[in-house]
């Protein structure tokens, strides 16, 4: 027990140390703090983007879904591959636009593209609304992991307080460099841990994968295929499509595009990331192996399956290592979320409110906002309650509403007017909010529709409303006459270089 605690503490200290060292004596202006001075090569961008694959949701939720739901968990393996295949084309276009204009947040992109500070404020609010529940989820996961891996000697609340303090500390000091350095440690750990236990446990308890799945199929017929109704094939297909659309709409991953040194970084990553994602397969193996070894975990307790089984199978010090890997899966995405939320609030809310504050004061405000956002999330995390899962699902639906306006803005001259982009996003968000609050599903909207339609992910409804409203307003207002570079209002408020200062070669 104390061995587990010692290992956990050691990794915790190393992670904070790395996070602080990552600053390397750099002067932290906004561009350094938020997007690493746009100097990251393939490896660091890879690690930041792989952050999405291995959050606590994947570590606990991936094994938890395999354990509790079976085949529907496979959707987690699908959406990344699809998002990566499109990232090959999407991300270089965003990068080429952002780089000479020195954009630092996702909202900056929308402001510049549509020449609309109003749209910027909307995107900023949308982003923060989605980020806070995501951060709450990471902190919750951190609490669960540490308390389980320390054999209950550290209470979840204590773990959450300590973790939040560490996050604030190294995020304020090192910004996104801290995330990248701790991500390197995290990925080495998680790769080792997940593959070792995902290979060892099925062998140890069942004698192999085939034998394991055979035993599960006999004990729970139908568990390893999608059901006919409910989480059926049409549920999986619609969910994967929606999630793939929303993937890069998260403000922290959108902003990680800006950290790249050149655009080939994204092409290389589009080849590597799908392969790397297969680690989730081993997370599934852990959940499936636990099914017959530590049976009886129901509801949210299914998320504990990986750690419970590890405690049964391994010595305390190795449980400490597993817990440390889990701890890092909370710290790294947590730090990226914090940086993103603080940057958005400082750059896209504080700056316009003060009518063009200096860069120096914006970065001071951004860093000062880090503890504010972190403590807000911590309070929400400590309050507990089931609602948080609903909030996360809502978070994904919230960010996905940015997808149509983004895709239509990729051409040098956006295909639709700013009025159309704003109306679409607002209509989509209102739909998301009402669907979530009312607990609507497609089945409840269309009770007499065929089962295939009823099982569609309800997020699709909001995206359709969004697109229809956008299309109608676009038809009325027409396509913008010229390229909407940050000309008058936007440039004045945001200190973005106006159009004539942007060299023409990258357009």
């Amino acid at each position: 027990m104390s061995a587990a605690l010692g290992v956990l503490a050691a990794f915790f200290v190393v992670a904070i140390g790395l996070g602080i060292l990552a600053r390397q004596g750099r002067d932290m202006n906004l561009e350094q703090w938020s997007v690493g001075g746009r100097g990251f090569g393939s490896l660091f961008v890879f690690l930041l983007m792989a952050g999405e694959i291995y959050t606590t949701f994947t570590f606990l939720g991936g094994s938890g879904w395999a354990y509790g739901k079976g085949a529907p968990a496979f959707y987690i393996l699908c959406y990344g591959a699809i998002a990566y295949s499109f990232s090959y084309f999407l991300l270089p276009v965003i990068w080429r636009y952002a780089q000479p204009r020195r954009l630092v947040s996702q909202a900056d992109y929308f402001i510049a593209k549509y020449d609309s500070p109003a749209l910027g404020v909307i995107v900023a609010v949308v982003g923060v609304a989605a980020l806070v529940p995501y951060l709450v989820l990471q902190l919750r996961g951190l609490g669960i992991i540490v308390s389980e891996a320390s054999y209950g000697s550290i209470a979840p609340a204590t773990a959450m307080w300590t973790g939040t303090a560490a996050l604030i500390f190294y995020v304020v000091i090192s910004g996104v460099r801290g995330s990248a350095w701790t991500a390197a440690l995290k990925d080495v750990m998680i790769l080792g841990v997940v593959i070792v236990i995902g290979v060892y446990l099925p062998m140890h308890y069942y004698g192999g994968y085939h034998a394991m799945f055979d035993a599960i199929a006999r004990a729970k017929p139908g568990f390893l295929t999608l059901p006919r109704a409910g989480m059926s094939p049409s549920w999986l297909i619609s969910t994967v499509l929606l999630t793939a659309c929303g993937f890069y709409m998260w403000p922290q991953y959108f902003a990680s595009v800006y950290t790249a040194r050149n655009e080939n970084v994204f092409r290389k990553n589009a080849v590597m990331l799908p392969l790397y994602q297969l680690v989730i397969l081993f997370v599934f193996f852990c959940g499936f192996a636990a099914l017959l070894v530590v049976p009886g975990l129901t509801g949210t307790d299914a998320d504990l399956s990986l750690l419970r089984m590890s405690k049964l199978a391994f010595a305390p010090w190795s449980v400490g290592v597993i817990g440390a890997a889990g701890l890092l899966t909370a710290l790294v995405p947590g730090s990226m979320i914090l940086i993103s939320a603080a940057t958005i609030l400082a750059q896209n809310v504080y700056r316009p409110l003060t009518r063009g504050a200096s860069d120096r004061s914006v970065v001071v405000v951004a860093r000062a906002l880090v503890p504010v956002v972190a403590l807000l999330a911590l309070l929400l995390a400590l309050r507990g309650g089931q609602a948080i899962v609903a909030l996360l699902l809502m978070g994904y639906n919230i960010v996905t509403q940015l997808f149509p306006a983004l895709m239509l803005s990729l051409a040098a001259r956006p295909l639709v007017s700013r009025a159309a982009a704003i109306s679409g996003i607002v209509a989509g968000e209102i739909t998301v909010a009402s669907i979530t609050l009312a607990g609507t599903s497609v089945a409840s909207l269309f009770p007499s529709a065929p089962q295939m339609i009823k099982d569609l992910n309800v997020g699709l409804v909001a995206l359709i409303v969004n697109t229809v409203v956008l299309a109608v307003v676009a038809l009325i207002t027409g396509r913008p006459a010229s390229e909407l570079a940050p000309t008058r209002a936007a440039a004045a408020v945001y200190a973005l270089p106006p159009r004539d200062q942007v060299s023409a070669h990258e357009l």
Binding site: L77, A81, S85, L224, L236
Partner: protein
């Protein structure tokens, strides 16, 4: 970089993976110890990497040819 016809290959993972789900939604045959549905998905994830590698290779070959 202009879009080329072979860039359409990038749509294969989406179409193949997802359109195949209703037909691949079965337990047997097991492949490499995996239930068929899981094998189907894993195979497409691997294929995604291979396809993107091919596209990247073709793009680099073109970029190299146009420079010389």
């Amino acid at each position: 970089m202009p879009l080329r016809r072979y860039h359409l290959l990038a749509a294969l993972p989406t179409i193949g993976l997802l359109a195949g789900i209703p037909f691949a939604n079965r337990l047997e045959p097991y492949v490499l110890g995996l239930p068929f549905l899981l094998f189907w998905i894993v195979a497409w994830v691997l294929a995604t990497s291979a396809i993107m590698w091919l596209i990247w290779g073709l793009d680099r070959a073109r970029a190299g040819a146009s420079k010389s």
